[in-house]
Amino acid sequence: MARELPYIAAIGEAVHQEMERDESVLYFGQNLATNDEDPFLKAFGSDRVRVTPISETAEIGMAVGAAFAGYRPVVQLYMAEFMLVAMDQVVNEAPRFHYMTGGQVKVPIVLQAGYGFTAGWAGQHTGSIYGMFLGVPGLKVAVPATPADAKGLMTASIRDDNPVVFFHHYLLTLEHGDVPEGEHVVPLGEAAIVREGGDVTIVAIGWMLGKALAAAEQLAGEGVQAEVIDPRTLAPLDTATILQSVEKTGRLVVVDQSTRHGSAAAVIAAEVASDGFSSLKAPVQLVTSLDATVPYSEPMEAYLLPDEAKIVDAVQAAVGTTVAA
């Protein structure tokens, strides 16, 4: 049975259900459980639900050490940027250990990190920084775009034996959608074809999925049928699903809220250019933020971000071009 839930509640439900199912799941974070009525604290107690100081490095490092002993900590970081102060632990400790020990240890931790809060939060709390984690072998990266996927990917992240950075989008927080009750698992590494079409493939990440679907509806009115793919996880990346779609459509537009250089969009474009070149009938189009820090002023913020109109333009450019075979 599914019922409507907001995206953020779907994530909380996944953590709650996994804590009920498995005593080894712990929940750490700053300002977590600010009073005795907190539902996590009431259900699981202060041993498993732990309020931490503002010490991201110690929080994440401690989670890694507890994971060696068989625990499955979820570290609530609130803002993805707060991970940046703890990059040694995120990049150079957690994902290295299984590998460097020749497989002696596992590090099943989840770093829950909100991102992309482009609603006047200005330069330091708005980044879509998942791209910088794609060059970190051993780390998995989830970017749910819907409430159902948010629940299913969080469940899979907690059950996974590797460190997972779970990026949830702040502007999706209160978006409602059908969410299955009870156990719901969305495997890491499987993209979803959200809309089928034969003229162009649009790969859209996170918050961009809704904009890409709106653009696709508009384009359908103009006779262009777009296939829309949500990668759902960026590491591992389901390259096969994207390549199969491009084989069918011959055209690719990648939509990513992050800055262009070093982005997930650039990685996806490179994979298709490398392994799907013979399918392409037009150059790959990237619709990303400008390579600039997110500004505070609202018109500047809108100017920087990808939107429906920019996606439509990119699709029209892709569809309007055919290179010689």
Binding site: L26, D47, R48, T52, P53, S55, T57, A58, E59, I60, G61, M62, A63, V64, G65, A66, A67, F68, A69, G70, Y71, D88, Q89, N92, E93, R96, F97, H98, Y99, M100, T101, G102, G103, Q104, V105, K106, V107, P108, P137, G138, K140, D161, N162, P236
Partner: protein, 305 residues
């Protein structure tokens, strides 16, 4: 201590002969800390080490063969040749994590200590770090959290007076590491880290308290790194120690002198121990040399658990 000393001197030779490759840090001169601490621990007590890890690994029970095979990049090594000198881990003996980033191991030990508390056990976590790690934010965050949650972890600082290539005076105005943690209300002590008896006694007190529910504690061991920061370090930043000064400091000679003075060590025992250590190390060299390198496919097999 002889096993560590002879092993590391041999590793130095093998490094110069290019049989051991990469960045190698030796702990010659600091053996009393590893021995005085690890000899009192159980296999289920988690130890975290750092870039200078050989002594901690051997003292915690890792086999000389497997450590040397690791240093020579062999499939039979502790970490199948993937980790190397700076990342020695031996889960079977409770050597949980050696990290090559200064200070990076300190919060990991808090995680083991937290797990011990949650499981209701009496396991104690120990983390070794140098005086150079103390000036990093990660150290302060970890001390604060360990003290706040009263975690059973003993922080063991090997203060050899040098952080890589510069003396402590270039890093901080605070002379004693034990003074750095004073405001956090944790037990702390500074001992002569080249006196294995002093290390053993102080750590033994802390260990007993931590087993009984106490913690955290900080043990600062003042010691001397006889060799450079890494093998090949030209050490232009300090004067070489005179031979007679080293005779006074050497933790092995000091223990032998004490044993002779107190009458519990006969004249032949040190030579016998040294000889036994040399034989064990040569066996390890033979084992490692005969071990195959890991298959190249291991590179991608280990990326995800």
């Amino acid at each position: 201590m002889w096993r560590i000393r002879v092993f590391e001197e041999r590793v130095g030779e093998l490094t110069r002969a290019d049989e051991v490759h990469g960045l190698i840090h030796l702990s010659v001169g600091q053996e009393a800390v590893a021995a005085g601490v690890c000899s009192q621990l159980r296999a289920d007590d988690a130890v975290y080490s750092n870039h200078r890890a050989h002594g901690h690994a051997i003292a915690k029970g890792a086999s000389l063969e497997l450590v040397l095979a690791e240093l020579m990049g062999r499939d039979s090594g502790l970490c199948r040749g993937v980790g190397g000198s700076m990342h020695l881990v031996d889960v079977e003996h409770g050597l949980m994590g050696a990290t090559g980033v200064v200070g990076g191991n300190v919060p990991l030990a808090l995680g083991s200590a937290l797990a011990s508390r949650l499981l209701g056990g009496d396991q104690v976590a120990v983390v070794f770090f140098g005086d150079g790690a103390v000036q990093g934010g990660i150290f302060v965050e970890s001390v604060n959290l360990a003290a706040l949650w009263r975690l059973p972890v003993v922080l063991v600082c090997e203060n050899n007076g040098f952080a890589e290539f510069t003396p402590r005076s270039a890093h901080t105005n605070v002379e004693r590491v034990s003074d750095v943690v004073a405001p956090y209300d944790l037990e702390r002590e500074t001992v002569d880290g080249n006196d294995v008896g002093a290390v053993h006694a102080a750590f033994g007190r802390f260990l007993a308290e931590a087993r009984g529910g106490g913690g955290p504690m900080l043990l600062e061991c003042l010691t001397h790194r006889l060799r450079g920061h890494y093998e090949g370090d030209p050490q232009r930043y300090r004067e070489a120690l005179a031979a007679e000064e080293w005779q006074e400091l050497d933790p092995i000679l000091r223990l032998q002198r004490r044993g002779a003075e107190e009458g519990w060590l006969d004249a032949s025992t040190p030579g016998r121990l040294e000889q036994e250590a040399r034989e064990q190390v040569e066996e390890a060299v033979g084992f490692a040399r005969e071990s195959p390198f890991p298959p190249a496919s291991l590179t991608s097999e280990l990326v995800y658990a």
